[in-house]
């Protein structure tokens, strides 16, 4: 098959996917003229023909010119507005609250995990948790400071018969707890959806009675990286001896919820913790936690280097 024929077939393929009927001979004739006769560079020849087809058949140029985005790994995603393709497994699907969103959740490959959004307008078939797909022509985006990938109209999702390995999701970190984030301490959650209430109001269910819970959202810092961690009631009790019941008691005795937070801060801030847990797209969900105790051997090793 000549070069011109090959390029023609590529164009035909594209036209087929757009449901446009064009005679192959018509395209081939032009292609041969440009490539074989006039020795125009291939890319220019394709562009010229595409332009011609767009005019002649009223195809939107945008659709016609979608180029195949390069296949990358999730760890390589570093900035927004990049068109890429990914081979990834759907790790988790979340409930979407917006009518504009068809599906939202996490996808992962062997290098990492990232949030993805399939917009309702994209008109894509639904993906399933645990299955692997080739996501073609998706675009990276930044939402609330975190990178994600968006599946849009011009994207394409095909299931692949390949089980993509995810990175070891459980990690262990030793670092200093350098900050507490908002909504730490004694909190109230919605009895319907477990979301954290602000002033007794659930973002979904409005004013609800709610139930008490104890948790800490904090920042663990090892001098190289920061990890945003979530400690649940059990973790907190392991570390401080303060469980939910104790926390409620402290709050009642002081007539103030923040007394609990202050107590937890005084026991945990600035301390070194060793945590084991599962890293999501943002938070490290802690499974095991303990105060980290230094070993004299670490010190002796350093001294050896110096003498």
């Amino acid at each position: 098959m000549s070069r011109a024929e090959k390029l023609t077939d590529q164009i035909m393929e594209r036209l087929k996917s757009l449901n446009v009927r064009v005679k192959r001979e018509e395209v081939l004739k032009r292609m041969k003229l440009l490539i074989d006769e006039f020795k125009v560079p291939e890319s220019e020849a394709v562009r010229t023909i595409m332009n011609y087809l767009a005019r002649e058949y009223g195809i939107s140029r945008e659709e016609l010119f979608v180029r195949e985005a390069p296949l990358v790994k999730i760890a390589d995603i570093t900035k927004p507005n990049q068109w890429i393709s990914l081979k990834a497994k759907v790790v988790q699907l979340w409930d979407s609250t917006s009518p504009n969103v068809s599906q939202v959740g996490l996808i992962g490959d062997e290098t990492g995990i990232i949030k993805f959004v399939i917009w309702a307008k994209a008109g894509m078939p639904e993906v399933e948790e645990g299955k692997s797909y080739l996501f073609r022509n998706v675009v990276t985006d930044s939402f609330q400071g975190r990178l994600q990938v968006n599946v849009t109209r011009t994207s394409n999702i095909t299931e692949i018969n390949e089980d993509i390995q995810l990175p070891p999701r459980e990690i262990e970190v030793v670092g200093a707890l350098v900050a507490f984030q908002q909504n730490s301490g004694l909190i109230k959650r919605c009895e319907h959806c477990n979301r954290v209430l602000t002033k007794g109001v659930c973002p979904i269910h409005g004013k609800v009675k709610g139930y008490d819970d104890l948790r800490i959202k904090g920042v663990l810092d090892d001098g190289e990286n920061i990890y945003e961690i979530i400690l649940n009631e059990e973790n907190i009790k392991d570390l401080t001896g303060i469980g939910l019941k104790d926390a409620i008691k402290i709050a009642q005795e002081n007539l103030d919820k923040s007394a609990v937070l202050n107590e937890l801060k005084s026991k945990l801030l600035g301390r070194y913790l060793r945590v084991k847990g599962i890293k999501g797209s943002r938070y490290l969900l802690v499974r095991e936690v303990e105060f980290f105790k230094p070993k004299v051997e670490d010190l002796e090793k350093l001294l050896e280097v110096l003498t």
């Binding site: 001098g223 801030l269 070194y272 230094p294 004299v296 010190l299 110096l306």
Partner: protein, 221 residues
Amino acid sequence: MIRKREVAKRIFAYELVRSTHQIEDSGLKYVLTPTGERANRIFSVAVLLDKEEIGADTNLWRLRLADPTGSFYAYVGKYQPDAIEIVADIDVPELIAVVGKIRVFEGISRKLVSVRPENIAVVDIPVRDFWVIETAKKTLERIKAMEKDRGEDAKLAKQIYNPDLNEYKEIVRKALETVKEDFKIVKEIEKVEVEEEEKFEFAGFEFEEEDFDLSDLFEEE
């Protein structure tokens, strides 16, 4: 786009107070230290030696802090509500962990680096010990990078400060030695505590009701 939180770097006081060079990178200010650390925020475990309100009722406090290598200043004001609450309650001297932003200020005669604590917590000796070990490790890594001319910040720091790396190694060594000593002490204390606990449990086991003579308590009535 929300910026990623800046990592808190580990730097000994000796090196910290010798830092005079500031770098601006994408709108953020960093202090470049003599061994080539680029820090916007630090984490330190030090002894709060002194606290002093600058002027009456200004609610701006100057703190003097010391780690095994030297001392530095930190300023806490009303914009650090969490830290100021803790500072007000502390009786000096006390061992504390500090997380804060660092900046270089142009004084009249020289440049001065200081810390603005975001969080302060009273901690115990083992936290300090590990901080010293960790900071020693990080400092030695930086020294190594500088010796091998590795990394932009190391090269820049060398150009600006041209530090005597042996001097810094000596500081690190001394810091480790001090800590090594109270490692032994802490171990001793733990041993004693464990023994006492064991003894106590044993004694508790033998208590019998008749052993308590409560008559003293009722006499006053």
